[in-house]
Amino acid sequence: QQQVRQSPQSLTVWEGETAILNCSYEDSTFNYFPWYQQFPGEGPALLISIRSVSDKKEDGRFTIFFNKREKKLSLHITDSQPGDSATYFCAASNSNYQLIWGSGTKLIIKP
């Protein structure tokens, strides 16, 4: 199975709160997990990524938590800002290097 699943489909949080976006996968050969951010009318852009040898990756307000045993990861956005409103895609790469994409989480930050 090559699927990557994301939840929730959409998420609304207040400015300043922490947004948590979830991702899970089935294929144990996946070893690289990028998160892409897409604003309306634009193409996706790499936000942050993690390799399966790590359980946490932090970049400013964005942190990925990775649980290899459960095949789950999550993206935490602390101190959410209205400018963070976007669709976030979790993706996974396997030994064949093909990137498998999740269906995305649409995040809305209310001021």
Binding site: Y32, P34, G43, L46, W101
Partner: protein
């Protein structure tokens, strides 16, 4: 950061006609991709291209689709003939390498409407 340019940004075309979507990838990149996205939903992989050849293609890459990059010019996606279900935003992407960890850089998309 590195930019991928896509032309046109929008196109409306009659069903059955041919359309060519153009992509100017990042200058030193070697791998090129086309993705299809409908209504801001999942990014659906169509095809990747390297050294003048299609490396992988998905089931969405129908016989009516073709890609090429003649003499290092635009990387193009051609649909001939177009169908109503081809209406979508098509994103071009490029990367330096293919191994895990190579970032895909996307253009802003070409919105295709088939009527």
């Amino acid at each position: 950061g590195p930019k991928v340019l896509q032309i046109p940004s929008h196109q409306i075309i009659d069903m059955g006609q041919m359309v060519t979507l153009n992509c100017d990838p990042v200058s030193n990149h070697l791998y090129f991709y086309w993705y299809k996205q409908i209504l801001g939903q999942q990014m659906e992989f169509l095809v990747n291209f390297y050294n003048g050849k299609v490396m992988e293609k998905s089931k969405l890459f129908k016989d009516q689709f073709s890609v090429e990059r003649p003499d290092g010019s635009y990387f193009t996606l051609k649909i001939q003939p177009t169908a109503l279900e081809d209406s979508a935003v098509y994103f071009c992407a490029s990367s330096l390498g293919r191994r895990a960890g190579n970032t895909l850089y996307f253009g802003e998309g070409s919105r295709l409407i088939v009527v």
